[in-house]
Symmetry: C3
Subunit: 310 residues, 3 copies
């Protein structure tokens, strides 16, 4: 695997290897790069969490990040993604993280690409760093995936997260359940778990993973008003969850749509913990990918730095 | 004071402590951070001076700055300020500087915030770093505030600067005068000084502090054409100012509206000097705030660096 | 020459001096700055290549780059270029790179500017770093300029590149030819070379330098459809080029308009090589300009760093 573009490419061993490395990073072991390595984060869609989290991860690893804002770039003159990517390669960039609205955008790039690529989200396709940080959060909470019951609920059809998570969780030994409004059911998912009613399943799951309603893509108002009561994680529903169970969400959250506002920062919620974990996981992804390409850390010369607030 | 959000929170001793630290920075003493500290500047309104000045201050102190552009962030997907702020906290940010169009935006944030916040301007509310750099500029010029006469003239009603400066100057022993068009008088200000006519007061003041006409908020044309002659600092008026007196302005300047173009870089003007001072003052604010939180410089290990052009 | 704003200011010796320094950089000699030096890239027009390339060059030299995005700056409040530039000078910036749509924008700035300026492109005027990287690419290929035959073809009238390149190439001993649609002929260019028909000249030139059709400025559709066959470098035309000859383009490329898509990455093309060379050339420009101002590298203390992928 020369690029991290899809969770489909990861087998269980590779997932565990990234999660273990992330755990090392969380325990303060920071192998500083002793070479000058340039990264660029090419985000063709708005993002706060994923982009900033990759940025922090890159800098903690000692990489230098070349800024790129699509609105001020030659994309405005009609430059293609391919030419932009090859430009960054030409000027000396050693790692690319790309988010792009087109599903599978990376398939045309990879044959000509001479530097490693991490997919930061493609249309309704893949989002491997989100999947891995979700897995990390669950493993950290429960120690293992064996027999852990996970409900994935919400917009299953348009979610980059649902498919990757369902497949990986099932592969790692968890039991997956799905719930969504009828129009957002995705038949393909059912190979990794079973569809159920939220009120039936909530009392027995260990994890309620709520997906974001993409309000910016679904503008039919009216629907949204009922959504919370019918399909969302309301305060009442959360009360029926079992002791020790947790709530997850990839964020940004629509408070009082897919999840009741007060639950976001409740003791049961791991939503901000997911973001915190995301930095370690992305450090692990970057570091292990750079090592595959032979441009990573020289362990003998790696230095530890003092980090604040970790 | 765990956050620097409002000049209302500063007593005279705290102001002097920041100004003294800024003076140390101006004299080349740069205590480098020996820890990895991340800052983010979340600017929800356009800014050149304040944003870039904080950026330079942060880097001179050795901090790593995480980029954020509101137009390319999840704010576009409806994410609230609160959730954006908590996201930056979660991914390991150690200091936030925020500018936001909503007055008092910080009041809802502070109860849940676990990292220090500096207010870079809130609506028509506070702008403490601008106030402190104005004070620094006056103290540097006159040695002290006792008996210094300061005219604050222009859009008193919508200015973030007028109120903070009036209160602080009065508290530190200066004598404050106000002048503005009738519709921009702000009664509340009169507790810290007296309203007067610009032509009467200009010959006796030590400082003429001209405020910016916010052309982007006041679109009634016609008014602007007369503004300069009636309310602005014209070349003729400037000639009647006393020897040793100075002209200040928070910038950006509307040349030939609130101030005659040639005055901006005249020997009497401290407008670009204010910007230069702003970097030292912001370094002092950041450093003293980080020290309050226990994440600042370890003085024993602080190293001096050679700075260019200081 | 205190600023690099126009190729008109360069005589042959100065060009060779920058090209030689660039060659040193390409051979891994990286004199690190041992001082804190701040640069800002003020780009008032979209750019990927030039902006990112300057950014990489600055960082490789150890400079700290202050971000600036025109859409989020006080330019939105009507601040002039002059005041923005003087602001960056005031807050401690030591080097400016500016791209601006107004031809000759720099002429009003220079008399008041106390820090070095590199012109990153002005309207239909100059673009010295592009010219120097083109020269570098040709010299690297052919060893010298003496007798090298170069065709410059395309939108001669609006090109920042055509004039600078024609003049410099002619001065350095190359023989220059021009070709363009009738409405884009520029009489002034003919002092440095002769106009000819593309099909006549292609078989004898060493370099075919194709210019970009600025689709964003020329919206008359219909014209573009014929452009490739009539004026562009088609696959058929490329086949008639002589052995050892190369194809150049400043990019971004309009594939199948000024140049056939498959030629962009063909063995004959130096288009991505030009981008790669651009970083070395910009490092050389920055370094030699900083040295002229006495704020550059102290050679005795310069350290070499390991660079990845060079």
């Amino acid at each position: 695997m020369k690029h991290y573009v899809s969770m489909e490419d990861f087998h269980a061993g590779e997932i565990q290897s990234v999660l273990s490395l992330a755990k090392e990073y969380e325990k303060h072991k920071i192998p500083m790069q002793n070479k000058e390595i340039f990264a660029a984060n090419l985000f063709y869609e708005p993002s706060t969490r994923t982009k900033s989290s990759f940025e922090v991860a890159e800098r903690r690893l000692g990489l230098s990040v070349i800024p790129f804002e699509v609105n001020h770039s030659s994309v405005q003159k009609g430059e293609t993604l391919y030419d932009t990517v090859k430009t960054f390669e030409a000027i000396g960039c050693n790692l690319l993280v790309i988010r792009h609205p087109e599903t599978d955008y990376y398939k045309d790039l990879i044959p000509s690409l001479n530097i490693p690529l991490i997919n930061g989200g493609d249309g309704s396709g893949q989002h491997p760093s989100q999947c891995l940080l979700d897995l990390y959060t669950i493993q950290k909470e429960f120690g293992s995936f064996k027999g852990i019951k996970v409900l994935i609920a919400g917009d299953l059809k348009h979610s980059r997260v649902a498919r990757s998570n369902a497949r990986a969780l099932s592969m790692l030994g968890a039991k997956v359940f799905f719930y969504s409004p009828a129009e957002w059911v995705d038949e393909e998912l059912l190979q990794w778990g079973s569809f159920c009613q939220i009120d039936d399943i909530l009392p027995i799951v260990d994890v309620a993973m709520m997906l974001r309603v993409q309000l910016e893509r679904h503008t039919e108002t009216g629907h949204i008003d009922d959504y919370h009561q019918q399909y969302g994680l309301t305060l009442e529903r959360a009360k029926r969850m079992k002791s020790g169970s947790i709530i997850m969400h990839p964020a940004p959250v629509n408070r009082d749509v897919e999840i009741a506002g007060p639950l976001v920062e409740s003791p049961q919620s791991r939503i901000f913990e997911q973001m915190r974990n995301g930095v370690f996981v992305r450090m692990a992804m970057i570091d292990s990918l750079l090592q595959k390409w032979g441009i990573g850390t020289n362990e003998n010369t790696a230095k530890e730095r003092t980090m604040v607030g970790w």
